[in-house]
């Protein structure tokens, strides 16, 4: 039997990348890992960022929480260390805050090709590790093609508003489910896991879902 995992995540969310790794670690130890499917869903941490507006994440965060640069650096250092424990190399000091709607539209295109997981991975890595600007059209097309999306299709989506309805539907569903923070994982439409929990916790959730299926 198949266990379906629906994940709500934003591509600029540091905990989502860490959560993705921890889920994968739990999955690796799961006895029925070959029977698990993962579907990524859109969630925008800040949909109010105007399209095209870019600013350093450090500055955005400092303004949002009213913290001085030294405090922001300390917070980023802490999450960077936790990422390292999962084998991730973050470069948050050079990350750029953007509206992620276009990235999510491209991710939905990739999902249509069965490349949703790879595209989400590419977008998270691009923003969090490589300091790429994930609303840049050329960057989005490059990332999509690197994971196997036909370039013409990626270009068409980037230059249009295609898959906007799918992004909206994901965000609406998250709201209906009461999801206010990400990452958030739903197993078999039944079991919810909030946050970047440990690999052991994900493994327990997988076993519970399997036992109840």
């Amino acid at each position: 039997m198949t266990i379906r995992i629906d994940v709500w995540s934003d591509v600029v969310c540091p905990w989502c990348y860490i959560g993705k790794r921890r889920l994968e670690s739990g999955l690796e130890r799961f006895e029925h890992k070959d029977d698990v499917s993962i579907t990524w869903h859109s969630f925008q941490l800040d949909p109010t960022i105007p399209q095209g507006q870019r600013e350093p994440v450090s500055e955005m965060l400092g303004k949002k929480i009213g913290a001085p640069p030294s405090q922001v650096r300390a917070m980023q250092h802490q999450v960077t260390q936790l990422a390292e424990a999962e084998g991730l190399s973050y470069d948050l000091g050079n990350a750029t805050s953007v509206n992620t709607r276009d990235a999510h539209r491209v991710a939905h295109l990739a999902g249509q090709h069965g490349l949703g997981d790879a595209m989400h991975e590419a977008l998270l890595k691009a923003h969090l590790s490589d300091a790429a600007v994930v609303d840049d059209p050329d960057t989005l097309v490059r990332l999509a093609t690197e994971v196997g999306v036909p370039a013409a299709e990626a270009t068409d989506v980037v230059n249009s508003q295609k898959y906007g309805a799918e992004v909206d539907a994901d965000i609406r569903k998250a709201r209906q489910l009461g999801i206010s923070g990400v990452p958030f994982f739903v197993l078999n439409d039944r079991i919810g896991v909030s946050g970047a929990q440990s690999a052991e916790h994900f493994l327990a959730a997988l076993r519970k879902a399997h036992a109840e299926a």
Partner: protein, 42 residues
Amino acid sequence: MSEIPETTTPVLEEEPPVEELPQLIILEGADDAPVCENGVCW
């Protein structure tokens, strides 16, 4: 493995009707499991 406590998520009074929404059981793990919320991740 220790048993995981369960709680039920609050159901919002918004459409679609409640019966169309999955009834989620939230597996409680670490209380401080990090999430990004309202644009803030730390």
